[in-house]
Symmetry: C2
Subunit: 223 residues, 2 copies
Amino acid sequence: MKSGKISNNVIRRLPRYLRKLDELNERGVTRISSFELGQQLGLTPSQIRQDFSCFGEFGQQGYGYHVSTLRGQIASILGTDRGYRAVLLGVGNIGHALMDNFCFSEWGFHLAAAFEVNPAIIGSTISGVLVRSMDELGSYLDENHVDVAVLAVPKEAAIPVTKELEAHGIEAIWNFTNVELTEPGSSTLVENVHFSDSLLSLSYFVSERNDERAAHAARAARQ
Amino acid sequence: MKSGKISNNVIRRLPRYLRKLDELNERGVTRISSFELGQQLGLTPSQIRQDFSCFGEFGQQGYGYHVSTLRGQIASILGTDRGYRAVLLGVGNIGHALMDNFCFSEWGFHLAAAFEVNPAIIGSTISGVLVRSMDELGSYLDENHVDVAVLAVPKEAAIPVTKELEAHGIEAIWNFTNVELTEPGSSTLVENVHFSDSLLSLSYFVSERNDERAAHAARAARQ
DNA sequence: TTGAAATTGTAAAATAGTTAACAAGGAGAG
DNA sequence: CTCTCCTTGTTAACTATTTTACAATTTCAA
């Protein structure tokens, strides 16, 4: 078992492993080798073994990995058994969609409250979660332990709301705004979901493929 | 200027550069050095210069980079000036939120149509885009050139809809479902927006921090 | 019970990515 | 116009990540 700091790349692969293991579980697969897991995920078997070995010895020689056991171990590494509490800031389209569709509890999170400025929806309950006034945010955070804030407010509100969150002890933000929250000095953990970054990457790969095809066609035409 | 394949890491940083340059533009900043850009993004100046140098020489010695020129060059590298056409599959919460809130045109995309199975919303127009029946998908794709499909259907529909998209010539998918679409054999470009992966990574980092604190507290108590 | 086949965990090698260092050239003050 | 300072692009050194290779161990068929 490797010790010391685990690399970011490894961490980012863990949720993918978890997702695949869930799928295998559902399909009734009880054991899997690093070779087959690699095939299904497009990774090399050694990378998978190397990744797992950062955290312990989860497999068995000559057998492979027991799917549901491994699933549990990865889930635990990711902290899904710690019962983290979250609050949602901003019940606009995205916030609302998260409340309706995203199953926080599936990943061990409890969405305890939501906060909005629009009086039309303050006081309503969405998917079992009460929407409170943004004015109550500070006092709520003072009185309740919250591990993660889900930031889904409009662009303009992102910085002021973040400041208030930090002032009331929030140390982790799941950021759905397009704003770069990561401040040089700050120790707050920020995880960004930047839709536009994702689409732009795809745009690059599409362009690259188109360019390659055009170049190929041009070469063919010249001969 | 470097030649050959550009690394994935570089591509993933380009949208962040673009975002920062847009912000600088709005603030009226006209020039910036790699040093200052690095400060603001938490990257080293050499990495920034190295990244840009993959695509050409955009700076000027003794001066730095001209913000709006550089912005345009990166936007062009990412393909935002190619007028890609997109269609949306699934007008549920996420799909609807994308139509209302995500500004496709800001990134050079044109959202040409949306497709749904729910008869209650088929025929309606959302943010200027007509919602069509999913039954029309195949014929629409045969008659209209589409570069990217935005997949926001329920989990169960992800695979069949993807198969139909591919059967009608779609080669790039922006995937909002929690399903792993990347098939070993397929050449379709898939860009995933897996909310749960993102939250789980954050969960890991929160857990890591908590563990470090607990260990620190235990060490302090022992003395 | 035995032995071939399978599969892990890890050390070492190979590859990839990041940072440091610096020559070259332009900006800007006087 | 000249001189100093600034900042780039790029090469080389360094660091990190991935892959290869293999001893150790277990499974499973006969």
